[in-house]
């Protein structure tokens, strides 16, 4: 990974283009991807223009310049153009997205940045992957290439998609694979929307397992947002009565913004980090078997409530740590008895012959022989964490933004008990502190975590998909387009492996 800080000591003052951030190209896929993408760019730019940065003018300007370079390309008539490629198999959503952006007056999408067809993927992963993918490969890749070429310095891809539908999921998997082939040295982070547990789409579990298993091979990191969790934030923290997808997407965009907006590195407080994706990957994905990342962001509340609230870093960080330990999705879920809540049905077996995951209570495919993954301890050897019933992490990144940020004490996150035994906290934990406040929050703390957070949702989806698969329901819809039962079985196998790996932490 590139590091800019070796230069920062020598060159100070103005920010020549060398100092500006490397750029990220966003690929928005399907209805969900496009609706979210719009909110993300909107949130990034709004924050960047915000007058409540609580820092010096020069600081603010550097922040703005960095944000702009990262996500937008040169102004055309003064209007920034999002570095994005919009892909959908039917036109309604893209048309809406384009016009909403243009209406904002603050930014817009490139005129020729869209790829659209007339007929959607029908919620069919196989159709998105096997039909739309190959058919439109050239056009889509060509659009992406043009966008990449516009970047002076390219950091990587941010691909926004849902798992439940047909385009985002199937075509998304196909495009990611193509990016892997055509840009083997560039980073790819997929932002995946986990559907509501109670159906949005009946075949969502099939589409999800096919997507996840494919992405695990071709993507570098999977940043997950669960609709259920974000919905709760809207309901309980934001007090929104009639929650729309717009509301949900805005909360999501806020969380992503707080991760992706420019930050200082620990080493150099003079300039913003240059390589957002590279830095995230480096800190959060130390081993390719562990790619699932989740985001927690506090505080998060309605504007009315915000006016009456004050926070201390100590308070925020304590809360965040508790959320990490107890696998809470949002602040309110952390009660005073959080440890009791998190205390497990986990029965630790001291018998090394039983497979780790069975003792952990997650029963997967009945493997009798399973080779240990390279770099990891052989199966059967328990880590101490099991006794403590913690949510065990592979890596954590805390990003702090706002007033008096240097005084924030993050020692609590360096506790070895939080991490798997084969990593030392000094390697597994990182913190980025930035003076410039984010989006009206005087202080905000974000946790990006590679931990067991997503094990249960993943296991649930795999279970439901398996349940349906056992009865062969809907399979004919997939085999029609070349996705056979073997492909399903492969997906089950891969994901069982992922679940097991995480359980063994």
């Amino acid at each position: 990974m590139e590091h800019a800080h070796s230069f920062s000591v020598v060159f100070r003052g103005n920010t020549p283009s060398l100092w500006l951030s490397m750029s990220i190209v966003t690929v928005q896929l399907g209805q969900c991807g496009n609706q979210i993408g719009f909110e993300v760019f909107d949130a990034l730019l709004s924050d960047s223009h915000s007058s409540q940065g609580l820092c010096s003018k020069r600081e603010n300007e550097a922040y703005q310049a960095s944000c702009k370079e990262r996500f937008f390309s040169e102004e055309e008539n003064g209007v920034p153009i999002a570095r994005a490629v919009l892909v959908d198999m039917e036109p309604k959503v893209i048309n809406q997205t384009l016009s909403k952006a243009a209406q904002s007056g603050q930014w817009k999408y490139g005129q020729h940045a869209c790829f659209c067809q007339k007929q959607g993927s029908g919620n069919n992963w196989a159709y998105g992957y096997s039909v739309h993918g190959p058919r439109h490969e050239e056009s889509i890749m060509s659009l992406i290439r043009k966008e990449v070429e516009k970047c002076d310095s390219f950091s990587g891809f941010f691909i926004i998609m849902s798992m439940a539908g047909g385009t985002g999921s199937g075509l998304g998997a196909f495009v990611t694979q193509n990016l892997q082939d055509q840009y083997p040295n560039s980073l790819k982070m997929n932002h995946i929307i986990w559907p509501y547990g109670t159906g949005e789409v009946i075949v969502q579990n099939y589409n999800s397992i096919l997507t996840l298993s494919h992405l695990y091979r071709s993507s570098d990191a999977l940043l997950v947002h669960e609709n259920d969790a974000v919905h709760k934030i809207c309901a309980k923290l934001m007090n929104i009565k009639q929650i729309s997808f717009s509301d949900i997407n805005q909360v999501l965009a806020h969380q992503l913004g707080s991760v992706f907006q420019p930050t200082y590195s620990a080493e150099s407080s003079f300039h913003y980090r240059r390589n957002p994706l590279g830095d995230l990957m480096e800190h959060l994905v130390p081993h390719p078997e562990f790619k699932m990342l989740s985001v927690r962001n506090i505080p998060h509340m309605s504007e009315n409530s915000l006016a009456y609230s004050t926070f201390t870093w100590a308070g925020l960080l304590k809360h965040l740590r508790q959320m990490l330990i107890s696998n809470a999705k949002m602040e309110e879920e952390v009660g005073s008895d959080c440890v009791a809540q998190a205390s497990l049905e986990l029965l630790v077996s001291s018998d090394p012959s039983t497979s780790a995951s069975q003792s952990a209570g997650i029963t997967g495919i009945d493997w009798h022989v399973r080779p240990p993954l390279s770099g990891l301890p052989p199966l059967g050897k328990m880590s101490l964490n099991k006794d403590l019933h913690f949510n065990t992490s592979v890596a954590n990144l805390v990003i702090l933004r706002g007033k008096d940020v240097q005084s924030a004490d993050v020692e609590g996150f360096k506790d070895p008990a939080l991490y798997t035994s084969w990593l030392k906290p000094v390697n597994a934990f990182n913190v980025w502190k930035t003076q410039r406040a984010f989006s009206k929050y005087e202080k905000s703390a974000v946790l990006v975590s590679n931990s067991q957070f997503l094990v249960k949702p993943l296991d649930t989806i795999v279970g439901k998909a398996w349940n349906m698969f056992a009865s062969k329901a809907y399979i004919h819809q997939y085999t029609k387009f070349g996705i056979e039962e073997e492909d399903f079985l492969d997906s089950f196998t891969s994901l069982e492996q992922v679940v097991a790996s995480y359980c063994n932490l």
Partner: protein, 493 residues
């Protein structure tokens, strides 16, 4: 955006079709104030410059010149079609898209299917191809017909095979009117049975509807409208049975109210594909989500609300009431009770000012009282379309793939057997060339097999997961080499 073509066959099919086009125009007129020919309108209408002679008149953008329905009208009698062509909708139909005869099918499926089928096959093919050529991206054929007569039933189902062969990638959605118990066509059981086999084999999706249900809904509405309760006046154009202004009162035919319900069904079915919304649902998603096995493609529909009250002070629990109503047997367009049968899948298509939280709240609320098949416990497909129907602020169309269709099929079989055992009227069928006894026996097997599928599913109600595998193993083509245990305990809640 895709286009759909409506193929209306027989007297019933054409009458319903006529109502459909009337309401479609009304809907688009209400939404499209500027008179611009946009993609939403193009899903069902062509924009034609009538000054141009021949085929060159199509205009793809800009102001609306003259709208022509993407329809093919087929009837073996001239009465109904002629009336349409002389009525207020005459300019909406392209006279080249009609196929008529004079003698009628005599309420005989065999005449409709075999005689007229072979006689008009080429013409039918030609008209269908023409209508497809006018489409940029044809997604779906909507066939409207009745099951009990001769033309709609026989020729209507003959069409299905033609469509399957000629346009294999285009969906075939069939709206079928099933005969009620007191149907006055004696041979309707024969016609329906023979048609069922075709529907089983060549339709992607069938929406069965019966006259009795439509009639009951109308009675309900009349009761409401005429009840004269203080403060509850109904908005006239909001009635699910109302027409737009184009069909003047004195032309109102006896079945208009009932036909309008079906017309509204089709409009709501396609609304999320035509108009924008926060969670779109295209027509190809209906089949994908609601048809778990190819043979089980019969969907029971319900439409709510049936009317809007003009009193705007009605409290918001009206919204939740709409969801509850969708599951009551009084609102189904078929004599069926989905609440007390087994759901294989359910789709909720919402229009208007309804958000995801409203949808979720109601699903959570209603789920406990509904039974879903074990492998699809959360079998909900949902959509949110921003544009409400005319006269409403919101509406809901529920499509259920539910074993509650079984009684309809069983009754059909019973009525058929009563006639068939006595060989009553059989000779009318057997004397048609190409019809033999085997046609009947095959049709009966086909229906019996279908009924048996539903039976087997019904027995799985309330059964725990593990025992289920014995029943569902017959579906599996590949022997399962993996076993997966039920997850019992997971580290975190």
């Amino acid at each position: 955006m895709t286009q759909s073509v409506v193929v209306q066959v027989g007297q019933c099919g054409n009458q319903i079709g006529c109502c459909f086009w009337d309401l479609a125009l009304r809907e688009h007129a209400a939404v499209n104030q500027k008179g611009i020919y946009d993609e939403a309108i193009s899903s069902f209408f062509r924009n034609v410059d009538t000054r141009v002679v021949g085929d060159g008149g199509s205009i793809s953008k800009g102001k609306i010149c003259s709208l022509k329905a993407r329809a093919v009208l087929i009837d073996m009698e001239e009465g109904v079609v002629n009336e349409i062509l002389q009525g207020p909708l005459r300019d909406v139909f392209d006279t080249k898209q009609l196929i008529t005869d004079i003698s009628g099918s005599g309420n005989n499926w065999a005449v409709g299917h075999k005689v007229f089928g072979s006689l008009y096959q080429d013409q039918i093919l030609e008209k269908l191809r023409k209508s497809a050529e006018h489409c940029d991206c044809l997604q779906c054929f909507f066939i409207i017909h009745s099951m009990g007569g001769g033309t709609g039933s026989g020729l209507g189902t003959f069409l299905l095979k033609v469509l399957e062969d000629e346009f294999p990638e285009v969906y075939r959605f069939v709206t079928s009117i099933y005969p009620s118990g007191e149907d006055d066509v004696i041979t309707s059981p024969y016609n329906s049975m023979l048609a069922m086999k075709e529907l089983n084999e060549h339709a992607d999706c069938v929406l069965p509807i019966d006259n009795q249900s439509l009639f009951d809904i109308i009675s309900k509405i009349d009761l409401m409208v005429n009840s004269g309760k203080l403060g509850t006046t109904v908005k006239p154009n909001s009635l699910v049975t109302s027409s737009s202004g184009t069909l003047k009162k004195r032309h109102k035919k006896p079945f208009d109210a009932m036909n309008n319900i079906v017309a509204n069904l089709l409009l709501n079915l396609t609304s999320s594909a035509r108009f924008e919304g926060s969670l779109n649902m295209d027509l190809n998603e209906i089949s994908m989500n609601l048809v778990p096995f190819p043979q089980l493609h019969y969907l029971v529909s319900s439409l709510t609300p049936l009317y809007t009250l003009t009193d705007v002070n009605i409290p918001p629990r009206r919204l939740d009431q709409m969801f509850s109503d969708a599951f009551s047997k009084d609102h189904q367009l078929l004599q069926a009770d989905p609440k007390h049968s087994l759901y294989l899948a359910c789709a909720l298509m919402v229009r208007g000012n309804v958000q995801i939280s409203d949808l979720r709240r109601n699903i959570e609320r209603l789920k406990p009282s509904l039974q879903f098949v074990s492998w699809n416990q959360e079998g909900w497909k949902t959509s949110l379309c921003s544009v409400p129907p005319v006269g409403h602020s919101h509406s809901l169309l529920a499509l259920a793939n539910n074993t509650c269709v079984k009684p309809t099929f069983m009754e059909l079989k019973e009525r058929f057997m009563r006639l068939y055992k006595k060989k009553a009227h059989l000779h009318h069928y057997l004397q048609v060339e190409g019809v033999e006894k085997s046609c009947f026996t095959e049709a009966v097997s086909s229906l019996s097999a279908l009924i048996q599928e539903y039976d087997q599913l019904d027995t799985t109600k309330n059964m725990p997961n593990l025992e289920l595998r014995k029943y569902i193993s017959r579906f599996s083509a590949v022997s399962l080499t993996y076993t997966r245990c039920n997850p019992q305990h997971l580290p975190f809640k």
